[in-house]
């Protein structure tokens, strides 16, 4: 089952990357078939070799509720990404370079692998924080460009609280 999902996804990406197959070519149909056969072959190989990378619980992502939360999460995420960028640009261009870097520890309640991956990636792309490592007990080590609190709970509040709410509803 996972192989089929993987095959379809990689084939769609192949189509997107190779479209249009042969613009203005003389024998366009043969070119089409060549490209598609190559795509089927490549997707097949990818699906056989790498299907284990896809999370086991992948079917739960197709529920309408999760997709709605995901669409709602996108603008929120984009807002924080913009804020993060202006913050880093300010620190990079400021003559005195106002940075107080350090690695702090935060706790997450998320359990599934995909949820923790999404949280770690969200943290990395947003205000002054970069995930360094994740432990099995649910702690994340985060490099923070402007440390406001070294306490676990306070740092959790400041860094990950705003994402956990959404990610729990999308990925858990």
């Amino acid at each position: 089952m996972r192989r089929v999902v993987y095959f379809i996804v990689s084939f769609i990406i192949w189509i997107l990357l190779t479209w249009p197959f042969a613009e203005g070519g003389q024998d366009q149909t043969t070119m089409d078939i060549q490209v598609i056969v190559a795509g089927v072959f490549a997707s097949f190989v990818v699906a056989i070799l790498f299907h284990e990378i896809l999370p086991k619980e992948h079917h739960v992502f197709l529920s309408a509720k999760r997709i709605c939360w995901f669409l709602f999460y996108m603008p929120v995420f984009f807002y924080y990404v913009m804020k993060a960028n202006l913050d880093v640009v300010y620190r990079a261009l400021h003559p005195q370079m106002p940075i107080h870097p350090g690695i702090v520890k935060i706790k997450t309640n998320l359990k599934s692998d995909s949820a923790i991956t999404a949280l770690a990636n969200s943290i990395t792309l947003t205000p002054g924080t970069l995930t360094v490592d994740v432990t099995e007990e649910g702690y994340l080590y985060v490099h923070w460009i402007n440390v406001k609190s070294t306490h676990v709970e306070e740092a959790t509040q400041l860094i990950s609280q705003k994402f956990e709410f959404f990610i729990e509803r999308i990925f858990e």
Partner: protein, 118 residues
């Protein structure tokens, strides 16, 4: 009109890319440099690709640009984790004025635990 929006997006993207590169040069240690490299360069490149997708007037180019943007959004933070963790376990020190390093404490505790076990 769409052309103009595309050009504006490309301009903003390039400005973010330049600021990211300035940060990459100015910041003091690996971890701060990664911050500049992941945030500014990711957003700058994604905006640039979005501008290309809008300004190209061609479904073929737009679809490629969007696929590339999604890949960059997924892979760039992942690569940053890998580099940061690799740098830390290889013993790259934080900047001397860094405030705190909880990760080092954890690594030390783990090493002590391993020593005790022996």
């Amino acid at each position: 009109m769409i052309d103009i929006i595309g050009y504006i997006l490309i301009t903003i993207g390039i400005i973010f890319d330049i600021c990211g590169c300035i940060g990459l040069v100015r910041f003091p240690d690996v971890y701060n440099r990664l911050q500049a490299a992941t945030k500014c360069v990711t957003l700058g490149t994604v905006l640039l690709l979005a501008g290309v997708a809008l300004g190209s007037h061609s479904g073929a180019i737009a679809s490629k640009a969007i696929v590339c943007a999604v890949f960059i959004l997924i892979t760039s933070p992942t690569a940053a984790h890998a580099i940061a963790k690799g740098a830390h376990s290889a013993g790259v020190q934080l900047w001397s004025k860094s405030v705190v390093d909880k990760y080092q404490e954890e690594v030390d505790r783990h090493n002590e635990w391993l020593k005790d076990k022996e």
